[in-house]
């Protein structure tokens, strides 16, 4: 069923913005090289990435040029993985801790079904309506952090950070109107 635009109090809107800024933007910044200067190294390395046993096993033997080339490509690929791809776990925890704050402060009600834990865009649908631009932006944010193959690329994280900052700014404006 389509959720229509709702009238949410300015105080609620303001508090949601503060929570997003403190818990989502703040935690993403502290966990990933986004938003603030200073890179954060990926915390967990996938086995077989540089320095791991699989890389040593993949050392070219020099007998087969194609194979050597292929191994170099594989190493480059692993390098890229280590530099640019991050584990999804911290992103997921950051988002869910933020939702927890919103739920715990009772800014939205009715999210206690363990079979269907809330997602941020559903909360925005309740607060602002399904067709609101803020809800669409949150859906874009969720799309960016959904990752691929259990990992998320740094470009997507940076873009997600930008989108979330725009959301917070818009919420701030609406809470003043």
């Amino acid at each position: 069923m389509k959720r229509k635009k709702r009238r949410t109090s300015k105080e609620t809107i303001r508090r949601v913005g503060e929570i997003l800024e403190e818990f989502l933007i703040g935690n993403l910044e502290s966990e990933f090289p986004v938003g603030a200067p200073g890179a954060v190294e990926p915390a967990i390395q996938v086995d077989g990435q540089p320095g791991g046993p699989a890389e040593e096993a993949a050392e070219p033997d020099g007998e087969d040029v194609d194979e050597e080339h292929s191994d170099e490509e594989a190493e480059d690929e692993h390098d890229d993985e280590a530099k640019f791809y991050f584990d999804l776990a911290d992103v997921e925890y950051c988002v869910d801790v933020t939702i927890t704050e919103i739920v715990n402060e009772k800014l939205v009600a009715g999210y206690d079904d363990p079979r269907k834990p809330p997602i941020l865009s559903e909360i925005f649908q309740v607060l602002f309506g399904e067709d609101d631009s803020l809800t669409k932006q949150v859906e874009e944010f969720e799309e960016l952090i959904s990752g691929y193959d259990d990992h998320v690329h740094i470009d997507d994280l940076e873009q997600a950070d930008k989108v979330m900052r725009e959301i917070v700014k818009e919420i701030e404006n609406r809470s003043k109107d």
């Binding site: 915390a43 967990i44 390395q45 996938v46 086995d47 077989g48 699989a54 584990d87 999804l88 776990a89 911290d90 997921e92 925890y93 869910d96 801790v97 939702i99 927890t100 739920v103 715990n104 999210y111 206690d112 079904d113 363990p114 079979r115 834990p117 809330p118 859906e139 799309e143 193959d149 259990d150 990992h151």
Partner: protein
């Protein structure tokens, strides 16, 4: 080959969105239904999972459909051909357009299993930092996720395509003896004692044994590895 029911459902869901069937399906070289609906083990509220092979399409947003959009070059890449999802689609997917000429090249790579392992290790190792800040509904969510991911890891290590989530859940509910087996799988991971205890708690948690849809497990042969 897909039955018309999939095409009809796809057409019906797209028709109430802001886009058109022709734009989404007509312009794609391949369209494949996968996930729980493809093999009829879905719940009534399950999304329809759809792979589109399309060089020019962004990911469409249609309520009730979860699209994966790949360009033809991606479908031919070793990354895709060795992935968990590609293996799942080849095993369970229903093609409603295109022939899937890449199907014969799909295999479950070491990388797919390693990525799954890294995913589980990441979830477990980072949990202590976040756990106390999470609402109880999220505790259940992560316990469920970790148990399912352990099941998937075990299948990937054996080069068995991972079935839809509902099938994993049905398997888990029906075969309690799989518990010890899954603890052994967790024991192979590079975890500290706290993370390993959490893994066991996830496996043992009664909260993760939800009543499931009445649809029986459709892929009986896949439960064998979990019975140990």
């Amino acid at each position: 080959m897909a039955t018309p029911q999939f095409e009809n459902r796809l057409r019906s869901l797209i028709s109430v969105s802001g886009t058109t069937y022709e734009k989404v399906v007509g312009a794609s070289t391949e369209v494949v239904i996968f996930g729980s609906r493809a093999i009829g083990v879905n719940r009534p509220d399950s999304d329809l999972d759809v792979l589109l092979v399309n060089a020019n399409l962004g990911r469409p947003r249609v309520a009730g459909i979860d699209f994966v959009v790949l360009c033809p070059e991606e479908v031919a890449s070793s990354h895709w051909l060795g992935s968990e999802l590609a293996a799942h689609i080849v095993e369970y997917g229903k093609w409603i357009k295109g022939c899937g000429s890449w199907r014969n090249q799909v295999h479950i790579s070491d990388r797919a299993a390693m990525r799954k392992q890294a995913r589980i290790v990441g979830l477990l190792m980072r949990a202590p930092k976040w756990w106390s800040k999470l609402h109880p509904v999220f505790h259940t969510k992560y316990k469920l996720t970790i148990r399912r991911e352990l099941q998937r890891l075990d299948l990937l290590r054996q080069r068995i395509p991972v079935p839809p989530t509902h099938t994993l859940d049905a398997d888990w509910v029906q075969h309690r003896s799989a518990r010890d087996y899954l603890v052994k799988v967790a024991a192979t991971l590079p975890l500290g004692p706290i993370a390993f205890e959490l893994a066991k708690a996830c496996i043992d948690s009664p909260e993760t044994r939800f009543p499931l849809s009445p649809t029986p497990c459709a892929v009986g042969c896949l439960v064998a590895p979990l019975r140990g």
